[in-house]
Subunit: 384 residues, 2 copies
């Protein structure tokens, strides 16, 4: 529990693109401006900016990006810090913004994520989320680790080939009605998934979220002041982070995502809610297997049965537990440092009746999980 | 003001070295262990770890270091996030740990900083704290920007050659009694400073903090629980961050460090203290000119007169406002991401009567400032 409740009063998202026409600073600043405009907040009213990004050190030769974005957004003077947790960076920035407002020290904060992956050696930079001394020298990458988990899962539980295909199929179906998605017009079939390029067996291209550019932001204020800014605030009812053994090889049961389990338990306890309260789940479907394992870690499916939820349609918009409701990482896109903030924006749209064609009828409480690296870090948030 | 007061109950510092014999993860974990031991806290009692680092992306090919350190320290399950603000990263981690405890969500947190600069291309990685599109292509580095500020200062105020030399002289004098310092046995004179290598005129080698390896950590808990862990808790009475225009060239008065001024004002207002309450100032003497400009920004000296405080002995241990009391960045060393946490450990030593030969007689309230990049970000903390 925190000493002060925190709500979201504005969101800003840029269209996810294969290659954006502007740079990091402009993208980040534009997302902040959109979110401020939605909250009806002047730049001078904003006290703090928490930024997330994963790859700018390598791809743009740029550190210090929180202050860079603040400058570009005309927010000189504001507090600005960068928060990271590998591929879960966006959720890390959201968590710090939440802590800042909850602490009573900050009255208005923006969490902004930005990533520009369209140039440079993305795969090697992404692999720095793994152990540089004990995993990467063995040729491990985020792709190969997820392929290994997928192999382990399919063999251990006797999953048929294509058994996980409904994760990307669901994501691509849902992205069709999200004009900000990278793939708004690319529904796929199980045949497409199985015909897509084999990257690292059994992982195929369509099991993986795409490389792309994007930025998204959300404005947080104390819940007690939220209605000054909007008639439809969304409360962050829980925020929790947990870790697992860093190396996949050090985990006794690698298919059990301990960090996801722990951070979900902590979040559920904070909010005093249970599985039955969750209306939809914006999960980290960077890889089909990760989406599947998160369903099991949180408790929506027993071990070895997460894939059945996808196969049986339970995860569709009309199903028992919709996921990736506006395209997910797979089809909205996964501009790493921005991803969890896109997910948060989408959750706000669902909870405030602004999800258009994909609007859920009674979304109630929303669950968000973000995965850092090969799930060594998992960050969970709940919204209402 | 925060809703809950926060205190430090344990510190851990490794000796600063030219080249450490262990890697990032081991150094970080060891600093955490030392701090836990001092607080008499079991690893299982620790809820969160906030880590700071600046250069591991390039020098160790490693991201995701908060979770890596947590794993190495045997803290699996713990919350772990990385916080950055270029060269002020350590203070950024301290601030987030402070916010987490102040929020009521976290009962026990460690802020740990680690940096290993002894291999790789440090200067180019450090320059990523500047604008990669609009400063670095013009050949700007942190060294050249500080040289330019020094030139501007010396010409604008008619400072004699060697007028700033008392900053490194004071730091080296104070390091002599700090066995953890990089230069515990290297007192220097004004002649040494003026005879040292000219790097970028007028900046000489002895105006610059050294490249080195180190790690330091502090444990934070609610002030109300602090005496469970120690008889001598040190309260963090203020924590504030501010930013300036990112590019030095965009600042109308580059010798006025706006971010330092603003964050100091915010911190003083939070704590309800004034300049006269400050017993000593652990400032960011990465460059002599930066130390000088910080004295002026906070208000201890008028514009153009900070160097006189050094020249007239006011900054010595026996002076009106001691600085760098255990060696400062210049002589204890400046392992970037760890630096502000070393400073915090030293402040705790002073405030709890454990500063040995360099013990101040009545240190009262301590001021800490950390500078990100060319002072685009400045983070201020106050302790009592």
């Amino acid at each position: 529990m925190s000493l002060r409740e925190v709500s979201i009063v504005g969101i800003g998202q840029l269209p996810v693109q294969k290659q954006a026409s502007h740079g990091l600073r402009e993208m980040g600043a534009e997302a902040v401006r959109l979110a401020l405009a939605e909250a009806g907040m002047e730049p001078a009213q904003l006290q703090a900016l928490y930024a997330s990004n994963m790859l700018a050190d390598e791809l743009q030769n740029q550190k210090h990006i929180a202050t860079l974005i603040a400058d570009e957004a005309g927010l000189v003077g504001v507090e600005a810090l960068e928060v990271r947790a590998a591929t879960a960076a966006g959720a890390a920035a959201l968590r710090v913004a939440y802590l800042a407002v909850a602490s009573g020290q900050v009255e208005t904060a923006v969490a902004v994520g930005v990533e520009q992956m369209s140039s440079g050696l993305v795969t090697s930079a992404l692999a720095k989320a793994l152990d540089a001394q004990r995993e990467v020298p063995d040729g491990k990458t985020l792709l190969s680790q997820n392929a290994w988990l997928m192999h382990l899962y399919q063999t251990q539980y006797g999953v048929p080939e294509g058994g996980l295909a409904n994760f990307p199929i669901t994501a691509h179906a849902n992205a069709q009605h999200n004009p900000l998605a990278l793939f708004p017009d690319k529904p796929i079939t199980a045949e497409d998934v199985l015909a897509s390029r084999l990257i690292t067996p059994p992982l195929r291209l369509l099991d993986c979220a795409p490389i792309c550019d994007g930025a998204a932001a959300v404005i947080l204020v104390p819940t007690a002041h939220a209605r000054r800014y909007t008639d439809t605030p969304v409360q962050v009812i829980a925020s929790a982070t947990a870790t697992d053994r860093f190396r996949v090889a050090d985990r006794p049961r690698p298919l059990q995502l301990v960090a996801a389990e722990l951070s979900a338990q902590r979040a559920f306890a904070q909010a005093g809610v249970g599985l039955a309260d969750i209306g939809f789940f914006e999960l980290h479907d960077a890889f089909s297997i990760m989406a599947c394992l998160l369903l099991e870690a949180v408790g929506f499916a027993k071990a070895g049965e997460g894939w059945r939820m996808a196969a049986e349609g339970e995860l569709a918009l009309s199903g028992r537990l919709p996921i990736a409701t506006l395209g997910g990482l797979k089809a909205r896109g996964h501009p790493i440092g921005a991803t969890a903030l896109y997910q948060t924006c989408e959750i706000v749209r669902q909870l405030t009746g602004r999800a258009g064609h994909n609007q859920l009828s009674n979304p109630r409480t929303a669950l968000l999980q973000s995965v850092g690296g090969a799930a060594a870090t998992v960050i969970t948030h709940l919204f209402r």
